[in-house]
């Protein structure tokens, strides 16, 4: 063991400590959503302090440990009492969804969930105020599971963020780039860097999230492995950037929806809807025709397989349902299509 090894260990432990503290605080804030959650959590935090005081560790002794936990409990209490807004996202800290969440609302606390369906459930159950999910990417196409869940979720779109996505190849600090053989990342990111991986003879392996792959790489440091994630994730987990902008095309953008239980307060300038059509000639055309006749510009039309032979159609268009012309077109569409549902009228932010 050298002095350098010790400092490296300290840096790694510090990074994990901070990540764990943040994780613990996230949970202490989420209890707000439950009846009597705040008082109950305060009592639970006091127990944590007392448990720390019973510590039998040599260095982190009783008084020190209790002091640290008291500080933590007080901060959690302050956050619970604040007006802090919470946004759920899929993945781990450092994910592109978190970057989009911060771009939408820099003050809100972005909280990670493992799967997309967990994000939808957290919003639906009132555990968080908002959820943010990627819907489509210019290179990777439709973000499959999200659109399928959107068909049935009883949630409203309250904002959209259209953001450039720049992937980086990340390695543990000091790792030799020549030894890299595999790259871990989300399937979408791997798909967006397919040619880069082929050129450098790297095998892509799937992780649940780009930032999750970066985090695991930083914590476990497997030999010959790299991760594909954002520059933000590299900074968060202290990884070296081997190469920036490794996506196969320059124009790599992802569009995100911000979801809530209630519609957006402001009118917005864009709308999203989903509907089904009868299985007969011209059914889809007749719905689209309504928008064309009203002079409403369609910005996205996407079909998502539902049951075999049946498709859910997603439609994005310009305008607000507070505009009578748009409202009339929506009413007509409801009469013409099967289960036409307005998912929301919102403002879209392009970065």
């Amino acid at each position: 063991m050298t002095l350098h090894d010790l400092y490296e260990d300290i840096d790694r432990i510090d990074a994990r400590l901070l990540a764990l503290l943040n994780e613990r605080m996230e949970r202490a804030v989420l209890v707000r959503a439950f009846p009597d959650g705040a008082e109950d959590a305060a009592r639970h935090d006091d127990e944590s302090v007392e448990r720390a005081r019973r510590t039998a560790l040599c260095l982190a002794g009783p008084e020190f440990a209790a002091g640290v936990y008291r500080g933590l409990a007080d901060e959690c209490g302050r956050l619970r009492a604040s007006e802090l807004r919470t946004v759920a996202f899929q993945g781990d800290h450092g994910a592109y969804s978190e970057m989009a969440a911060r771009a939408w609302d820099a003050q809100a606390a972005a909280i990670p969930f493992r799967e997309f369906v967990d994000v939808f459930d957290a919003v639906q159950d009132g555990i968080v105020d908002f959820g943010i999910v990627p819907v489509e990417n210019t290179l990777g196409g439709l973000v499959g599971p999200v659109n399928s869940i959107l068909v049935y979720a009883d949630l409203r779109i309250v904002a959209a963020v259209d953001m450039p996505v720049a992937h980086c190849l990340l390695a543990p600090p000091g790792a030799d780039h020549r030894e890299i053989r595999v790259a871990y990342s989300h399937t979408q990111a791997l798909a967006q860097c397919r040619r880069f991986l082929a050129r450098n003879k790297l095998e892509g392996r799937t992780e649940f999230d780009t930032a999750g792959a970066a985090r695991r790489l930083a914590e476990e440091r497997p030999a010959g492995a790299a991760a594909i994630a954002s520059r933000f994730a590299a900074e968060l987990y202290g990884l070296d950037i081997i190469k920036e902008d490794i996506q196969d095309a320059e124009n790599n953008r992802t569009r995100f929806f911000v979801l809530a239980r209630a519609p957006a307060a402001e009118a917005g300038s864009k709308c999203s809807a989903v509907f089904f059509t009868e299985d007969k000639a011209g059914a889809l055309f007749r719905v689209l025709e309504l928008f064309a006749r009203s002079g409403i510009n369609l910005t996205r039309i996407e079909s998502v397989p539902n049951v075999p032979g049946d498709y859910a159609i997603f439609l994005d268009f310009e305008g607000s349902d507070r505009d009578p012309r748009v409202a009339a077109a929506i009413e007509e569409a409801k009469a013409s299509a099967r289960e036409f549902r307005l998912l929301g009228c919102y403002t879209e932010r392009r970065l």
């Binding site: 780039h177 020549r178 880069f196 050129r199 450098n200 003879k201 081997i242 190469k243 490794i246």
Partner: protein, 276 residues
């Protein structure tokens, strides 16, 4: 010369022209300039700005250095490549940099526009094959003990991998003369032009190793028909970590570029007058 199926010149066939981010190699004179080694972002970017100002079309700079002594500065490696990338973004100059390890070929290709294979690696056949597969333009220097035929056979290795973008570069050979670092063999310019369709550059910095000889030999190379030059320029040669004595100051390089331009005008006029 036998067996130069792809590298050898064929009667009636056109000479190779290589397009590197808009810089046309093989059509008029192209000068590649920059420091021997990438030492820092400041040194590299400032040198890049200066050589561009003087009329250089591409930037050179070593990130992986093949050094005579294992204790000499070996280059900044990946960090050096990132600095070159920064210099390209600042100046728009395409990057030429050496690759010495087969395992680095794809990574250098991610950052550089042209991969240079140095004199010491000219006959490193696995490196040549890997460079060929990268699909990137290759600047192939002549080995210091190599004949023209050996050199062109090395180019053949790259072309045989389906990569026709090869630039040859004469950089001097070992002779009994020790006054100069190497003996710059300018007769290779017409020799390459007669035996191959590939463009030929000249490196007067390594070719002579003497500051005062860089300008006269550059003028001589261009007069002999070289397609381009590769010249070492450092923003502050006295502080350089390698090749201190053969890197030009930006002012000296700018003067050389002005003289090259006047010489080009003179030669063009000379040929035009003969034709009329």
């Amino acid at each position: 010369m036998k067996d130069l199926k792809l590298t050898g010149s064929r009667p009636g066939a056109e000479r190779t022209v290589i397009d590197i981010a808009g810089v046309r190699i093989g059509e008029g004179l192209v000068v590649i300039a920059g420091p021997c080694a990438v030492e820092s972002e400041d040194q590299t970017v400032r040198t890049a700005v200066a050589v561009k100002e003087a009329g250089a079309k591409m930037l050179r700079g070593g990130a992986f250095k093949p050094r005579t002594s294992p204790y000499a500065f070996q280059g900044l490696g990946l960090k050096g490549l990132k600095i070159l990338d920064k210099a390209r973004r600042e100046t728009g100059l395409p990057i030429v940099t050496e690759v010495i390890d087969t395992r680095d070929v794809s990574w250098v290709g991610e950052y550089a526009d042209v991969l240079q294979i140095g004199a010491r690696n000219m006959q490193n056949f696995s490196l040549l094959r890997e460079a060929g597969k990268s699909g990137r333009p290759i600047l192939l220097k002549r080995g210091m003990y190599s004949t023209l035929e050996e050199w062109l056979n090395c180019a053949e290795y790259i072309l045989a991998e389906g990569n026709g973008q090869v630039i040859l570069c004469e950089r001097g050979i070992r002779t009994f003369e020790t006054f100069t670092r190497n003996t710059l063999d300018l007769s290779m310019i017409p020799a390459v032009h007669s035996q191959s369709h590939l463009p030929i550059f000249v490196d007067p910095s390594h070719g002579t190793g003497i500051l005062g000889m860089i300008e006269p030999m550059s003028l001589a190379a261009v007069a002999a028909g070289a397609d381009g030059l590769e010249i070492e320029v450092h923003i502050d040669p006295s502080s350089a970590l390698s090749d201190k004595d053969q890197q030009l100051r930006p002012e000296a390089f700018a003067r050389l570029m002005r003289r090259l331009e006047r010489q080009r005008e003179f030669i063009e006029e000379m040929y035009a007058r003969e034709e009329s």
